[in-house]
Amino acid sequence: MFKKLNEIEISGIIKYLDKRFGIDSSVFNKFKFFISGKKIWITPKSLDENLVKREESVGLMFMRIEKNERIKLSTNAAQIFGRYATKNVVELNNQQLYEALRGLDITVDEDSTEDGYVLLKYQNDVLGIGQKRGSFVKNMIPKARRIKKF
């Protein structure tokens, strides 16, 4: 069952993305959001959600609500909207890219990013999400997306 989020619920999501990653709220002007269980989905405003009654999914899985009401941006959403981020972006070098795509965790030098969820970026490509604690970044790219022989 997919329920459309109201303005107050959407503003909670947008505020989080602004606070955590510095993504401007105007980026989401053309989108609407739905919730199903612990998952939040994003679609263009033009989508007609009333065409079918029993959906398997609506649009793109945007984020997941975790324990303690923490929210985690999905890899696919990070790849699309991560380009608008202005903070908590870990810039990867060639070796770290190799590790990230193979699903390995990453060690980073001291940088300005905070502990918690960070975007993993190589040059202009945002690859996905990692969870940073000190210099250690846990790789959150799903197994099915990794490249074994990169």
Binding site: P44, S46, L47, E49, V52, R54, L60, S74, I147
Partner: protein, 309 residues
């Protein structure tokens, strides 16, 4: 290694192709050229070409497409092992299978039904054309295939899609709901033996007839679900007339559909045939495109654009 093609298979297509049969059989046994479609929902075409070229890839434009390319790459590499593939900047898609979304040619505000959508090649191509606007209902009957469909759509950044799991035939209840319907029908898959030889393992006339029966039911549902004046694009990756011209003939005779005369740029094709095994088909059927593997060095394919009048 050359595979053995059943005698009956050779005989059937010899009846249509005559002397060309040998070259057809030769192409059935050749490996398929690798092709990709650059995904403009997430990437710029020129940028992706530049990046892949820097790895030593050679890209040749597929002339009937906007962003499709045949590719070759250095030995030892694989088409899916690049950062660009990981990012969803391109999708591995057979060159002929890019034709149906081009013929459907949706508007950005359209409501589209993709009745048998998995694995999502054509759905994502439609979404790309619609610039992620409007609505696509991407349906499939199998939960396993839906997992693959969702994975591919999300990787490619498709957002204008609702995935549903229904028997395609039940869309007959959705009367006049959609501006267009894509019916890439389940089929006997004769056309894809160049990439999957196992497709011939279950080949039989009985299997073809069973598919033909199902396809007629699916196209009936597609007609019902399409608005008056709307479009149905019917395609298969098989060459069997029972699954192609016979299904189009059924739709024309039972529902008064018109088959539009479409001519994709630089695509070599044959007209739909008018007669098979004593059955005569409506003249409209000639407007369908029958694509043999040796015509464009692709898989074997059939596609027709029908208009509900």
């Amino acid at each position: 290694m050359k595979h053995v093609i059943p005698r009956l298979f050779r005989e059937r297509y010899g009846k249509i192709l005559g002397k060309e049969k040998n070259i057809f059989i030769e192409y059935c046994q050749k490996p398929l050229r690798k092709s990709i479609r650059i995904n403009e929902l997430k990437a710029d075409v020129d940028d992706v070409i530049k990046r892949l070229s820097s790895y030593g890839w050679k890209l040749e434009k597929i002339p009937w497409t906007k962003a499709g390319y045949w590719v070759s790459y250095p030995e030892g590499e694989q088409v899916g092992n690049t950062l660009e593939h990981f990012m969803g900047y391109y999708y591995v898609q057979e060159a002929a299978s890019m034709i149906p979304p081009i013929l459907l040619d949706p508007d950005e505000s359209d409501k589209i039904l993709d009745m048998a959508a998995a694995p999502g090649s054509k759905t994502s191509q439609l979404a790309d054309t619609m610039k992620n606007n409007g609505t696509i209902i991407a349906n499939d009957v199998s939960i396993e295939r839906i997992k693959v469909l969702r994975f591919n759509l999300e990787k490619l950044g498709v957002m204008n899609t609702i995935i549903s799991r229904m028997d395609g035939r039940s869309f007959s209840r959705f009367e006049n709901k959609f501006d267009a319907v894509m019916l890439d029908a389940p089929c006997s898959s004769e056309g894809i033996i160049r990439k999957d030889w196992k497709a011939l393992s279950k080949w039989s006339i009985r299997f073809i007839m069973g598919m033909s029966y199902l396809q007629k039911q699916l196209i009936s549902a597609a007609v019902s679900a399409t608005k008056k004046g709307g479009v149905i694009v019917y395609s298969t990756c098989t060459l069997a007339p029972e699954e192609n011209e016979e299904v189009i003939d059924y739709a024309v005779k039972n529902f008064g559909l018109k088959v539009e005369k479409v001519r994709p740029k630089a695509l070599k094709f044959r007209k739909g045939i008018r007669e098979w095994k004593g059955k005569k088909y409506d003249k409209e059927v000639e407007n369908a495109l029958r694509i043999w593997p040796h015509d464009n060095d692709t898989e074997g394919f059939f596609v027709a654009k029908l208009r509900k009048v």
